[in-house]
Amino acid sequence: MARINLNKLDPQFKHRVADQPGGEGLKACFLCKACTAACPIQPLDKRYDPRKIIRMVLLGMKDEVLKSDFIWLCSSCYGCQEVCPQNVRFTEVMYAIKNLAAQEACMPPGLTAQRSLLRKHGRLYEVGEFENDKRFKLGLPPIVEHPEDYEKLLPDRPTGV
């Protein structure tokens, strides 16, 4: 990683993360690294390191965090959250960070595609005759799509901004 340019740091970034739902615990972190030790991703991909991500957020490295690929590598296993002595709830902090990235339009296309499917079908998979035929043969009741509510409940654009 390049040297940090102090002039490019955003002192408000940590407050923005902490203000997101789930981000509340961020500032309680005392950098003990229990999260990183418990993380199953970190040994396999060094780019994803919970303590490093917290430090970057606290320093105000907004672009380096939000525009990175590594924030999308959390598997949501809650390993970090369970061992944290400060109740930072890092799995939820990661969701807060990803939500902010989405607000800045930095998100993997797969996730927006899933969201469109949900708005259109109310489910992750479209259910047609083929699927219900398979179910019928096993004596299972048909699946009926009810997308109406999903279209009404979820705003047009992914982040509601």
Binding site: Q20, P21, G22, P40, I41, L44, D45, W72, L73, C74, S75, S76, C77, Y78, G79, Q81, E82, R89, T91, Y95, A96, K98, N99, A102, M107, P108, G110, L111, T112, Q114, R115, L118, G122, R123, L124, Y125, V127, E131, K134, R135, L138, G139, L140, P141, I143, V144, E145, H146, P147, E148, D149, Y150, K152, L153, L154, P155, P158, T159, G160
Partner: protein, 291 residues
Amino acid sequence: MEVLLYLGCTVPIRNLNYEVSARLTAQALGINFRDLEEFGCCGFPLKSLNVEDTIVTAARNLALAEREGLDICALCNACAGTLNEVAHQVRTNLELREKINRRLKVVGLHVEGKVKVRNFVRLLWEEIGVEGIRKAVTRPLEGIMLAPHYGCHYLKPSELNVGFDSPETPKTLSEMITATGAAVVNYPSLLDCCGGGLLGMSEEVANAMAARKLIDVSKTGAHALVLVCPFCNVMYEGQQKKIAKSTGLDLKTPVVYYPQALGLALGMKSDQLGFKLNRIKPTGLLKIVEG
């Protein structure tokens, strides 16, 4: 007892063996599953984009269940975890509840967070119990060795599962396996995450995560790995061939859902329990049980 069966998106399309065996075993044990056609996605896939969208989506399903006055039984750990989390948030955070109810108004629903949401195995453990299962077993799975895999969202975050199982030393699934007459196999990577959550982001890392458990379990000589979640199944069964190829190992670890094993112990036939849909056939297991 009567509960609403929450199928979610994946199980009723891709894991019919899980659904069929869960319905059959529940019925045999006196649990009445009621279907609710209006149930849709739990909201989990939206969480990375917008947490509040997840909350409102989950709350819609919870509100539908409240209207029926029944608790929810989910087959997927992500569905159970998300609905349970949101029920807790709506119940304890009045400000959030009001905000979500304002959004739910457009579909004519209202949520209080009153329903209890449990994974099927948790429901069995709490309502039927180990003894109840043992008494119902007519064909003990003697000579069968099974390796449990709980899945992260079955146990964690533990703050949402107070009084249930321990994330460090879980026992409920192991005890439910023992109740069928099978032996539980322990292995070093028991607590490992399947990696399913990042399959869409990095197949390489996800596969590496699943590989460790598959290697461990194959070394124990277990007849099958036992799951309670379709996402874990994507990794351990769906990706197994690819993992075997990339690691150069001869992996052929059968993967079964808990109610499939339970059904065999209750005297049901493998055909009824959807074993034809298991992609890595548990031939050794079925040979011992059915001859």
